[in-house]
Amino acid sequence: MAQREELRLCGYGGQGIILAGYIVGQAVSVFEHRQAAFTRDYGPEARGGACRADVVISDGPVGYPYISAPSVLVAMSQQAYDRYHAQNRDQALVIIDEDLVKPQPDSRRLLSIPARRMAEGLGRVAVANVVMLGFLTALTSLASAESMKKSLLAAVPKGTEELNLKAFEKGYAYGLEKLGAAGVGKE
């Protein structure tokens, strides 16, 4: 079977979780030569509450398009973290916004970033998702930074490109820094 990675991004509505998932999927499948299937929650019950974006990435065609157990979990709210944390693979990487999530003590491979605060620093809390995306890109080999940036630019509204790139770079740099510090190997 083809190499398969399962990424879950979660948080609450309005944080741009869905867009982040879309950007990852597009980066992988359109701007690189792997395949990705991206799915999400829908419906009024999802409004305002928990929000989830799942990306399955594979070298060959993605057969089964859903996540069984994420290999990477990005959590941007406590509620989402609490809900999905237990479902991870044993060796999963967990990434959190450190201001929004208080992790459980058992988390082995945990990395954190104050994405929201960094976004505030850029003047737009709305780009916290993109900061997180930069961070994620630095820490994993889901897609190259270049592809991710291409995908980002293709996905965000005209006029916001610069801000978004800045946010991405900020998260990315923070990730590289953490990488050096923590010695976490790329997946």
């Binding site: 499948s29 990705a36 419906g43 398009p65």
Partner: protein
């Protein structure tokens, strides 16, 4: 903006988006619809894309109106489509029947959700498969396609338009929330590379034209309104002129032809995909998103040494009786996973003729099967 007309290239699209792009690529220039989860995104994309390519989007007051408008637009000479989900599909049934009776090419997309009734509006289901075949009153046949990915929603939407023009009837694209709301890469070929079937036009002058006199393949050439043919088109039983004919003979001739033009052209219409059926002792017969899940079960079962194959129905209606009958002579059992309580499984059972067991793996909806469920059924069946 001609350069936007076709979005040739690679895109990361949802199945719904891909369906809309497929329609645009197929030359669809009219969409009448009414929002409904999980098909709304098709309407939304059509509302943006059609004006860009010189087409028309109209949001109707309901699905009854949508379906009627699509038929009208088709007779105006335009390729036309609508998209809906279960509740709206139920409302379209009467006018799908009019489309069948008047031999009106068009495409109806159903992104299935959990049913019956309002059910699970945002979650997936495959509960409308038999409705696709039998949902309108009276005897008729239909063509229904079942895509397994956004790419295939794109491809099969084009194929649906081609079949609808070729056989002159509403063609159904039966997808489901899981696929419609899933994003994957979709490759859109340059417009020149897409094979499109044009409407078969009359070759005789209006005086000599019999609008419902079929060619040898049982399909009549079609004049559009406004071309001077002085058509009469009715949902009543009619003769070759299109005039009402309230006789048993006219009914026999017309209805037989409407059914036979599909049934006798099955070889052309039916598309299947088989994987490992050659030496299989168990065949999973599946369609839509369930076929993707089945693929996992196939791989795992093979890992366990079970000789299992996958028969994926790309065309669900007309049903591939012959191939299933053939396989029935070879296999011990069919395993049929469906997100319903057994629909296509009944057809498999019928064609299995008691030669092979048929194991339904039902799922009431809301999610796809856990692959283990199917795997377990395969294991049992292989014993």
């Amino acid at each position: 903006m001609p350069e936007r007309e076709y979005l040739a290239g690679e895109f990361f699209l949802s199945g719904d988006d891909a369906c809309a792009e497929g329609a645009i690529s197929a030359g669809c220039r009219f969409f009448a619809g009414y929002p409904i989860t999980p098909a709304t995104e098709i309407a939304e994309r059509m509302s943006e894309r059609l004006p860009e390519v010189g087409g028309n989007y109209i949001q109707m007051e309901d699905e009854l109106g949508s379906m009627a408008a699509v038929l009208g637009a088709s007779w105006a000479g335009t390729k036309a489509m609508t998209a809906t989900s279960g509740p709206g599909f139920s409302l379209m049934m009467e006018n799908i029947g009019l489309g069948i009776m008047t031999e009106t090419p068009c495409v109806v997309v159903n992104i299935q959700r959990g049913g019956p009734s309002t059910g699970l509006p945002t979650l997936t289901g495959q509960g409308d498969m038999m409705q696709a075949r039998w949902g309108s009153h009276g005897p008729y046949s239909i063509i229904a396609l079942s895509p397994s990915s956004p790419q295939e929603l794109y491809d099969l939407t084009i194929r649906a338009f081609n079949l609808s023009e070729k056989y002159r009837l509403p063609v159904l694209v039966m997808s489901e929330a899981a696929t419609g709301h899933m994003y994957e890469k979709v490759v859109i070929p340059p417009s020149g590379e897409i094979e499109l079937l044009a409407r078969r036009k009359p070759t005789v002058p209006p005086e000599a034209y019999l609008p419902f006199a079929p060619d040898t393949d049982l399909v009549p050439p079609m004049a559009n309104a406004g071309e001077g043919y002085r058509l009469h088109v009715t949902g009543l039983t009619h003769d070759e002129r299109g005039y009402p004919a309230m006789t048993v003979e006219a009914q026999d001739r017309l209805v037989r032809r409407l059914v036979d033009k599909i049934e006798r052209n099955k070889a052309d219409i039916i598309a299947l995909e088989e994987d490992g059926t050659g030496d299989a002792e168990v065949v999973i017969c599946s369609y839509g998103v369930s076929a993707r899940v089945s693929q996992i079960a196939v791989e795992r079962a093979r890992g366990e040494g079970i000789r299992v194959g996958l028969l994926r129905l790309i065309t669900v209606w007309p049903f591939p009786d012959d191939r299933v009958r053939e396989l029935a002579r070879q296999v011990k059992a069919f395993v049929v996973p469906e997100i319903n309580y057994g629909q296509i499984a009944l057809e498999v059972e019928r064609c299995a003729c008691g030669l092979a067991k048929v194991v339904l793996v039902p799922h009431m909806g809301g999610r796809v099967h856990a692959p283990e469920l199917i795997l377990e059924a395969v294991r049992q069946a292989a014993r």
